[in-house]
Symmetry: C2
Subunit: 259 residues, 2 copies
DNA sequence: GAGTGGATTTCGCAT
DNA sequence: ATGCGAAGTCCACTC
């Protein structure tokens, strides 16, 4: 019998009855559980699904999230986001693991008739997570280094609300013309262009004079180039990586002025 | 020593050296692996991230997908979709597990200094997965039972391409007027309305006469109701569940005519 | 609590 | 390969 204080307790080929006890205990102590065995799954809620028997990995986390993973695929085949209530019950030598969510009302039930492994985990994890090169990073980079757009560009505001939504950056060019900047961290598609067009139209109708629209992205989808030209919008190539590099320079401190 | 044919082989608290051997062997045999231990993670690719040390669950699947899960959250903190090449190497008593992707060029490296559990899996999973109440189900339900839209409605085509994209359903009402139907499986927001508006505009400009636009969804976002009216579009309440029920009736066979 | 938009979105389908 | 849109998307943030 492994010590109760080990971060990982493992039970191999437990009987269904034994598994139920271990899992019930794990749930009541808010442990993270890993179950591997032969199972089938029903889901009812926003949609509904039925997964027929097979061997899978089930993870029940401390925060009430549930994942059912097959041996292929990035995504779980069934799941439930955090906040579920877990239940484990025995019915005719079948173990039922339920994850119940209130809003929206949803249930995932996993039925096991054979468990190869039940593991009870107590993981200590306080490590920080830092992500770079997001769209937000691109915005910050442009705000600290407006010449990335073009010489003489001066940001006025960012995340400014106009009727259709929020403009990423709004500013003035070297000629004093108004400029709306729309940022995308990956290849810009039709949607990005139409979004920018709506912002430009909206600003134009308010100020009643010329407004430039500049789409900033690492690249632009092929068919969309024409749409961009038709709408008299402009494109400026800029990659999230380049932006991340700029932000990693000492001058990031300039940013603080904006916050 | 567990049999090589067991679907689940478990190694508890292996040394780093031993773990490397097990993992290398698992990779070369295309097994699914579960690693639990103290690790830190670097990611470089479309974006970049750094995860500082902590105890986590790592899954390496047969198809080359990688998941790094913390003890909370539905989503993995780091990951790589299927198609990666895995490597396991030892550097100064630290185990490096690498997942390398070619297109886009990306790398996730997980560094372990302590492993509590290494499990090598050989899961048999041929169970079918069936999902109900998707947007596609709603489309099918309307095609088999057009009166769901309104009495006298007759679908003409579906997934028909017009300039802005694909119309979900296109048909004719009891008065002979053209109708564009846009389907959403959940509360319709601004985007859905604008999408429908573009389709209606596009068809109108082609046929040069009145075209109705009907948004089909379980409900409509509050502020969006006004937008809908402004654009002279209509709304028809219909839930994916109701559609799924209709499809579960024996008459589904009518559907085959469409396929 | 609802609405809005981003995401290392992933995934599937069509061109 | 690329483009496009859905997803049981999830998630963070605002109102």
């Amino acid at each position: 019998m492994p010590s109760e204080k080990s971060p990982v307790n493992v039970f191999q080929n437990p009987s269904i009855v034994r598994a139920k006890e271990i899992i019930k205990n794990g749930i009541s102590h808010r442990k993270t559980l890993i179950l591997i065995g032969n199972c089938w799954v029903d889901y009812h809620g926003r949609a509904g699904s039925k997964l027929f028997p097979g061997e899978r990995i089930v993870i029940m986390k401390e925060d009430g999230s549930l994942l059912v993973h097959r041996s292929t695929g990035y995504e779980p085949v069934n799941w439930q986001p955090p906040g579920c209530i877990f239940e484990a019950n025995l019915k005719e030598n079948v173990l039922e693991v339920k994850a119940i969510r209130r809003k929206p009302a949803e249930t995932v039930v996993v039925y096991f008739d054979k468990l190869y492994l039940v593991s009870v985990l107590d993981l200590e994890d306080f490590g920080e997570f830092a992500l770079h090169a997001s769209e937000e990073d691109m915005q910050k980079a442009i705000l600290t280094e407006p010449s990335l757009i073009e010489p003489g560009f001066k940001p006025v505001t960012y995340e400014k609300k106009v009727e259709p939504g929020f403009m990423d950056i709004y500013g003035i060019d070297s000629q004093g013309r108004f400029v709306v900047v729309e940022i995308k961290r990956k290849t810009a598609g039709k949607e990005a262009v139409l979004q920018l067009a709506r912002y430009v139209e909206s600003v134009k109708s308010m100020v009643n004079r010329e407004v430039r629209g500049i789409l900033v992205a690492p690249s632009i989808a092929k068919g969309v180039q024409r749409l961009l030209e038709t709408l008299k919008l402009e494109f400026k190539a800029l990659s999230p990586k380049k932006c991340a590099e700029i932000l990693s320079k000492p001058e990031i401190k300039k940013l603080e002025e904006f916050l």
